[in-house]
Subunit: 157 residues, 2 copies
Amino acid sequence: MTEDATHPTTAGPPIGIGDLARHSGCKPETVRYYERIGLLPDAARSEGGQRRYYQRTVRRLTFIRHARDFGFSIEAVRELLKMADHPEMPCDEVDAFAKHHLAEVESRLQRLAALRDELKRMVTQCAGGRVESCRIIEVLSDHRLCHQRGEHGGAMR
Amino acid sequence: MTEDATHPTTAGPPIGIGDLARHSGCKPETVRYYERIGLLPDAARSEGGQRRYYQRTVRRLTFIRHARDFGFSIEAVRELLKMADHPEMPCDEVDAFAKHHLAEVESRLQRLAALRDELKRMVTQCAGGRVESCRIIEVLSDHRLCHQRGEHGGAMR
DNA sequence: GCTTGAACCTCTAGTTGCTACAGGGATTAG
DNA sequence: CTAATCCCTGTAGCAACTAGAGGTTCAAGC
């Protein structure tokens, strides 16, 4: 992906790293980090050497932040970006990627839903009681959770 | 929390760090790490200096792993354990904890559910197509996600 | 009772994904 | 033109583990 000042829509003047970060919900340090590890291309520079960005990069960074927020690892994001950068490729890889992550996402969802239910129950029923009657602690101690709903998951690779 | 060889049920002989780890779905290194940072008490030792554990610790470690898996930070887990260790305490703190985390958990749930739907759609519809028609990449690029479903979340404090 | 191999010990260093300085230069509003 | 703000590079720190080096202990089989 390269910078393109002649983009038809919303081209405007290039923006600085701070604005880019603000638009995508992260910090300038994070942007520089992504550039360093190659998720973002080397930015164009002003006369004085400061980074200048166009809309393409806002979109790319937004993509990265969403994918990270969904729990994809940096390496998984790198894969996704490679696919997004080559839209003429057949879909097989994205498809395989989806299959690989679907089960993991579903198991996380179920476990999170169980936690939400417990938190909800507590907020509505717990006021004034004592810790011994709080089921959240019981729920977290219950080993059957593992077998009922799949193993502990780490980051998505 | 101290080790108690005289626990009535399932007392049996003490177990080593490897068995403890296996029972709780983590590695010996992680157990030693938790001991070092004070989530687990200093373990009893064999004559030769190896760690020996009783059922209490299996339960405590299971609790910790579940809480971590649900996305609670180590410091959040420390809070929860403090509450679990003092069941005579009034419930207020656990209640406050629940309130504080409920919104975060719900927003994560919604975003994860959106991702699951996309992954599912892809797995069923995408075979044989090309990347340009894969909506997962579109969805991840769409900034409206942020405003519709809450901001990007980090670890739960 | 002895051997042997797996499991364990401590200590240190590496990993991932950022985040926070320090010590300086660039840009821009007034 | 100057002050405030932004940005630069480089390094170091953080959370939450994970992996190794180099040595010790345990327990099962003979």
